[in-house]
Every structure is written in structure tokens, then in C-alpha cells.
């Protein structure tokens, strides 16, 4: 009798139900995976030489066009060497290379083998247009709407310039402004010779 009473009075330990434990652990693991993927992505550098660049389209500013079209798609430029320059009107280093890029475009444009594209990164249109006018930029230029293109390239800042070969493969990345037009020409000429 006494023994029974003692056993009845033992405090009963009710743990968290199994289904709740499983749910909590699954949720925790899922959260950690998401955090890890986010961290990995944020620590990734830009796209790397050798990567095939996915297709994208760039709608140009009013007054700019490529072969009469106001929007250009990367996939339509296969067979050409493509130079994609990310810039912004508030970016002082971009001004250092603006004239060199335009000169290089003027140099290669007659051949038709090289296409220069300017992607204006998080900018305001009046200032962007003033910048283009100031440096007489004539190669196709447009705003990177919603930063879709820059996110695809995972750019880390401006200016950055990406050189894509005739097969659509990224071959060279220039982070920061070019030192001279000669630097641009040496890269483009290498790609044309391939």
C-alpha cells in the first residue's frame, strides 16, 4: 500500500511531443541551410572567366539604339566580342575611363565585330543622361532596371567591365577603371584573335 502510494506520487516527466521535436529540428536545419546559402552567395565573387553568361536584355535610354533596335539581347550578339561596362553618374572613377571606352568603341565600331554595352547601375536618369552627354558616349547604353544584370554578374561596385568572347563565354574582368585605351584594346584584340 505504502509502496503504491509512493510510486503514484512520483512526479511524472512529460517531455515535448515527438512530432513537435521533429518539427522544431527540421525548421532549425532548414533555417541554417537558408542562412548558409545566403552567406555563400554573398561571399561569392563576381562571375568568373570561363563562365557562360546567361542571356539578358538591356533596354536603352531614349536616343540610343543598336542596329535600329531600342533593346538588345546578349544572345543576339553571338559571334561578336561583347564588352559590358557597369557605370553610374555618381561614380567618380567611372569618369576616368569614360572617354577611353568611347574612343575604343569608335575604333572597333566600323569592323562590326565588337559591341560595347553600357549598363547604368542604380542611377537617376537626368544625371545619367548628363553624364553620357558630358563624355559624348555613343555606344548602346541603358539603365540596369531592378539591378537584374548587375546581380547576374554579381558585381561588387562600379566601374566593372566584362569581356565576353564570340561564343558567349566570359574571358576577362576589369574591376575599377581602365588605365588607358591601350589596355582595352589589348584585351579586345586578344579575344578577336581567338
Amino acid at each position: 500500500m505504502t509502496e503504491n502510494m509512493n510510486s503514484d506520487q512520483q512526479p511524472t516527466r512529460r517531455g515535448v511531443p515527438l512530432w513537435a521535436q521533429i518539427t522544431i529540428w527540421v525548421a532549425l536545419v532548414a533555417l541554417l541551410v537558408i542562412l548558409a546559402l545566403g552567406l555563400r552567395r554573398s561571399q561569392q565573387g563576381t562571375v568568373q572567366p570561363g563562365d557562360i553568361i546567361p542571356d539578358f536584355s538591356l533596354k536603352m535610354f531614349d536616343g540610343y539604339n543598336f542596329q535600329g533596335k531600342s533593346e538588345v539581347k546578349l544572345s543576339e550578339l553571338r559571334g561578336n566580342v561583347v564588352v559590358i561596362n557597369f557605370w553610374a553618374s555618381w561614380c567618380k572613377p567611372c569618369e576616368q575611363e569614360a572617354a577611353d571606352l568611347e574612343q575604343a568603341w569608335q575604333y572597333y565600331q566600323p569592323s562590326g565585330d565588337v559591341v560595347f554595352l553600357g549598363a547604368d547601375y542604380v542611377d537617376t536618369e537626368p544625371e545619367a543622361r548628363a553624364y553620357l552627354e558630358k563624355f559624348n558616349i555613343s555606344f548602346p547604353n541603358g539603365p540596369d532596371m531592378g539591378t537584374r544584370i548587375s546581380q547576374m554578374f554579381r558585381i561588387k561596385g562600379v566601374p566593372e567591365t566584362y569581356f565576353i568572347d564570340r561564343e558567349g563565354v566570359l574571358q576577362y574582368i576589369q574591376v575599377g577603371p581602365f588605365a588607358s585605351i591601350g589596355q582595352i584594346q589589348s584585351i579586345v584584340d586578344k579575344l578577336l584573335a581567338q
Binding site: N6, Q9, P11, I24, L31, I34, A88, S89, W90, V122, D123, T124, E127, P143, M145, G146, T147, R148, Q151
Partner: protein
């Protein structure tokens, strides 16, 4: 009389034009009005800097853009939408309630609820033993057991000698 009618018509026409011009011109939005919108947006370039306090030239340009849009009669939501379309959803101070962004809204309250539950259970388990009072007051020790044996044997001997 005819002259008077002409003068009246001209005056009415001029008044109508002047009123139209005045109505078309919105007053320039104040810094406070601009900052009320800018506060809901983040600089697309700098890390974690609200647009209303961001000191860079780029942010000054964006604040001017907000002023311009407000002067054109745009609403706060229209301006925010414009910024999202141009610079991506990351400019919003509050991420849009879609996709993985929901985690930002769900996880903090869930963690608080789970924490409160764990704390409640811990507090309950700490207070329960004292409240029950049914735990034996004196646990059986080896000394006490040997004493009981001795008493039992003593009583047995007494019974034999009766």
C-alpha cells in the same frame, strides 16, 4: 457697350489661364515630406543606410528624385514602386511579403513564442516539487536500515523468551 463686353471676356480669359497655371504648379515638397518617403527606403549602394540619412552624392540624387516625383503628384506607394522597379526590392525598408521574405516576418514571433513556452515549462518544473510536499522527508540510510534490523531481531528474541 461692345467694348465693355470685350474687356470682360479678356479679363475672364486671363483669369482662367492664370488659375490654370497656378493649379498646375505644385508647391515644392519640403525636406520633411521628402524624408518621410526616403525613410521608408534604403540606399541601393551603401550597406544598411536609410535614404533619409545617407550622406553620399548618390543618395542626394535619389532624394531629389523623390522631391521631383512628389511635386509631380506621385503618391508614396507609387514612388516606392518606382524605386523597386529601378533598383530592386532591396531598397525597401520593409521587405515585400512574398517568398523567402516571409521568414523575416514569421521567425521572430515564432522564436519569442517558443522561448516563452520553454521559460513557462522551466518555471513550472522549478516550483512543482516544493508545492507537492509528498517526497519522503527522511530518505532511508544504511545506518537506519541496520537499526531497523536490530529492533526486529530484538523483538523476535523477546517473543521467544515469553
Amino acid at each position: 457697350m461692345k467694348k465693355l463686353i470685350w474687356i470682360t471676356l479678356i479679363v475672364v480669359a486671363l483669369a482662367a489661364i492664370w488659375t490654370g497655371i497656378a493649379a498646375a504648379q505644385q508647391p515644392t515638397p519640403s525636406d520633411d515630406q521628402v524624408n518621410a518617403v526616403a525613410h521608408q527606403l534604403y540606399c541601393p549602394v551603401c550597406e544598411n543606410t536609410p535614404l533619409d540619412v545617407c550622406p553620399t552624392q548618390a543618395c542626394a540624387q535619389w532624394r531629389e528624385l523623390i522631391r521631383q516625383k512628389l511635386a509631380e503628384g506621385w503618391s508614396q506607394d507609387q514612388i516606392k514602386q518606382y524605386f523597386v522597379e529601378n533598383y530592386g526590392a532591396r531598397v525597401l525598408a520593409e521587405p515585400p511579403r512574398q517568398g523567402l521574405n516571409w521568414l523575416a516576418y514569421i521567425i521572430p514571433p515564432v522564436i519569442i513564442l517558443v522561448g516563452a513556452f520553454v521559460l513557462f515549462r522551466a518555471l513550472k518544473s522549478w516550483t512543482q516539487p516544493a508545492m507537492r510536499g509528498s517526497v519522503p522527508a527522511e530518505p532511508e540510510t544504511p545506518a537506519k536500515k541496520s537499526e531497523d534490523d536490530y529492533v526486529a531481531r530484538f523483538e523476535e528474541e523477546l517473543r521467544k523468551h515469553k
